[in-house]
């Protein structure tokens, strides 16, 4: 069973590596969206410093959502998904493995590039650490929750917009806590409370979301 899961992760990472343009698209989207904000609200440094955590979080959230449609789509199209459903490994575990691989390829790059973008907003050094950790904990939660939406909208017309509508309300708590971590740190309260909550969210999401997504996949494939 572990062999099957390792196989799934390896396969998804290999496929992503052979189609690296998909990864770049997500990162570029993140960078562009973040760069748009100063153009929209003005370059005043104090303002930018205040909005930086929120802007980076919203941009990461949108970029992550952009990539979600692809978690199950190609497997569904070529029939691999059905084979996964009829395999010896429980579908929930396979979904967890796929979501992890998906986050590794679409979420982790955002986390890694966020400090560079935060510097664009002149975010103080002390807050950079909190921001990066909040994204590192939060983006997997977004991937796990988003997988449920991706599974439900599999193969539907207008799946992209529908996925956004389904998933954004569920993202709100993660966004509030995630952005709140750096904001609390900026206010001198330290972001550890929020980071702990994010950690708890990650554990709960990792434990429950794959099974909900597996149930959704079975519903979608009927």
């Amino acid at each position: 069973m572990i062999a099957a899961l390792r196989c799934v992760i390896q396969r998804d990472l290999l496929l992503a590596a052979r189609r690296s343009s998909d990864v770049m698209t997500v990162v570029l989207f993140f960078v562009i969206v973040v760069s748009l904000f100063p153009l929209g609200i003005g370059p005043e440094p104090k303002l930018l410093r205040t909005v930086a955590p929120g802007v980076l979080w919203v941009a990461a959230l949108l970029a992550s959502m952009l990539a979600l449609g692809r978690v199950f789509a190609s497997d569904h199209a070529d029939g691999t998904l059905e084979q996964m459903m009829l395999g010896a490994t429980p579908l929930g575990l396979i979904v967890a493995a796929k979501v992890f691989a998906h986050w590794f390829v679409t979420g982790l790059p955002l986390v890694l590039i966020s400090p560079v973008l935060a510097l664009q907003f002149d975010l103080p050094q002390e807050l950079l650490g909190v921001l990066v950790v909040s994204l590192a904990l939060g983006t997997p939660v977004l991937s796990f929750i988003g997988a449920i939406g991706a599974a439900l909208t599999l193969g539907l017309r207008g799946a992209g917009a529908l996925l956004a509508l389904l998933v954004l309300p569920l993202y709100v708590p993660v966004l509030i806590i995630g952005a709140g971590a750096a904001e609390a740190a900026a206010a001198g309260l330290g972001g550890s409370a929020q980071l702990l909550i994010l950690g708890a969210m990650l554990i709960v999401a990792a434990a429950f979301a794959p099974w909900a997504a597996a149930a959704a996949l079975r519903i979608s494939v009927e």
């Binding site: 069973m1 062999a3 099957a4 196989c7 799934v8 396969r11 290999l14 496929l15 052979r18 189609r19 190609s74 070529d78 029939g79 691999t80 059905e82 084979q83 996964m84 459903m85 009829l86 395999g87 010896a88 490994t89 429980p90 396979i94 079975r218 494939v221 009927e222």
Partner: protein, 212 residues
């Protein structure tokens, strides 16, 4: 291995039409069951209901006396299903694809057996080509190479296994199926081709053109 498939009073409604109802059959080890019928008569739906991918509107499918939808992985570990789609990744090579298909099914294989299986289906020398460059028929054969590694699965459910194959490949698949049946496995399949397969018990059920 024990093959004991039982379909009880199955009914399938797609859209407004009732494709079939009151359909019951059994499949034991060493038996071959062919589902026939015109296009759109519900053959694929019946196969998917048997696998547990689709829920019937009425009735149930049982494996060893227990409902297939309750058994889940226990049943699926003994099942080999090949549908219309090949389940191949364009960016992976033929042998990579086959290795992954086996891993997902819980079948342990090494590189040598994978190469042998591909050769069995006439793909010797093409193992390391990406699936993208293979022809339609060759891709189907990569998918069917699973059969050469499928002894562990007591039940084979094959949806149109002979489609898009040339005569040599049809013969390869025919012999694989016959071999499985002679070893005591059960095979449930549909096909438009008239291929005679030697089996201890060979039956055929034809679905009507839709009722109601």
């Amino acid at each position: 291995m024990q093959t004991s498939l039982e379909a009880i009073d199955l009914r399938c409604v797609r859209g407004e039409r009732s494709l079939f109802q009151g359909l019951s059959f059994t499949l034991k080890g060493g038996e071959l069951l062919r589902i026939g019928g015109p296009n759109g008569s519900g053959k694929t739906s019946l196969l998917r209901i048997t696998c547990g991918l689709l829920e019937p509107d009425q009735g149930e499918v049982r494996w060893g006396g227990e409902s297939v939808r309750r058994l889940k992985e226990e049943f699926w570990a003994r099942l080999l299903y090949l549908g219309h789609a090949n389940a191949l990744k364009d960016d992976l090579t033929a042998s990579e694809n086959l290795k992954i298909a086996c891993a997902l099914a819980g079948v342990v294989v090494d590189a040598r057996r994978v190469t042998e299986a591909l050769a069995r289906l006439g793909l010797a020398g093409r193992e390391n080509l990406p699936a993208r460059v293979l022809s339609q028929g060759q891709r189907r054969r990569v998918a069917l190479a699973r059969l050469a590694l499928g002894e562990a699965a007591a039940l084979w459910v094959l949806d149109e296994p002979f489609t898009a194959l040339d005569a040599a490949a049809v013969e390869d698949v025919r012999s694989l199926i016959a071999g499985h049946v002679s070893r005591g496995g059960g095979v449930l399949y549909t096909t438009h081709h008239e291929v005679s397969i030697a089996a201890a018990v060979s039956r055929r059920i034809d679905l009507g053109g839709g009722q109601g």
